[in-house]
């Protein structure tokens, strides 16, 4: 896989993408993913990092869905006064 990457395709105007650049970026991604970061193993293949990245993004999106659901319910159930109060409280928290 890596040897193929270093021979970049002859695209016009795009500089050669070096293998080192890609390795660097993949390792930076690695640091961001909780799954891999917590496992503390240095030897993680790029394929695994990409897989975990996809899984992580999907799980984050699912969380956004769930939280949107809950917010929708909360907005419906609370009256406008306490809703405004909650919002003001949140703004002050920042």
């Amino acid at each position: 896989m890596s040897s193929r990457r270093s021979r970049s395709r002859p695209s016009s105007g795009v500089s050669r993408i070096s293998e080192d650049q890609i390795i660097d970026l993949v390792s930076k991604l690695q640091q961001l993913i909780p799954e891999i970061r917590n496992r503390r193993s240095d030897k993680v293949s790029a394929s695994k990092v990409l897989q975990e990245t996809c899984n992580y993004i999907r799980s984050l999106r699912r969380e956004v869905d769930d939280l949107s659901d809950r917010l929708s319910e909360l907005l419906a159930s609370t009256d406008s006064n306490s809703a405004q109060a909650a919002i003001i409280r949140s703004l002050l928290m920042e």
Binding site: C54, S68, L75, S90
Partner: protein, 152 residues
């Protein structure tokens, strides 16, 4: 690569925009509990507000936020009529080019998940992914704390 974690300014900007969008979603005057359809519609609006607010807070600095804002704007404007015909054909050309050079399937999966990922080169894609992931995590964190505030 500069730090990908959203700074406190971006987080605050997102929180404010999102909260303002929420406060604009007033409960309809109709009596009784809202119908399932109303709840569904509101959920969709909240979700859209969350993603838009984050993209606006990030601004035009990143390719993913630009792509997301474009998508939101086009969805509002065209409602599926034109469906970005030009971009669709550009996408097909780029995807063909990428497939020819033997990109992995996982990379293609990632391209679908990151806004604007279809037309990026691998380096750009990885950079944008890192920033997008960090912003999503922040978005979730803020939304969770808003839910907690509401539940008090």
């Amino acid at each position: 690569m500069t730090s990908v974690h959203p700074n406190s300014t971006t987080t605050t900007r997102f929180a404010r925009r999102f909260l303002i969008s929420l406060s604009r979603m007033r409960r309809p005057i109709t009596l009784g509990p809202p119908s399932d359809e109303e709840v569904c519609r509101r959920t969709r609006r909240i979700k859209l507000a969350a993603y838009s607010s984050m993209a606006r807070a990030v601004g035009s600095r990143r390719a993913w936020s630009r792509a997301l804002l474009l998508k939101v704007r086009n969805r509002v404007r065209f409602q599926g009529i034109l469906r970005n015909r030009f971009l669709a054909s550009k996408k097909k050309r780029v995807i063909k080019r990428n497939k020819a050079s033997g990109e992995m399937n996982k990379t293609d999966m990632l391209r679908k998940l990151v806004p604007g990922g279809e037309t990026m080169d691998i380096c750009g894609l990885l950079e944008e992914t890192a920033h997008y992931m960090a912003s999503l995590a922040t978005q979730v964190k803020v939304m969770q704390s808003i839910v907690d505030q509401y539940s008090k």
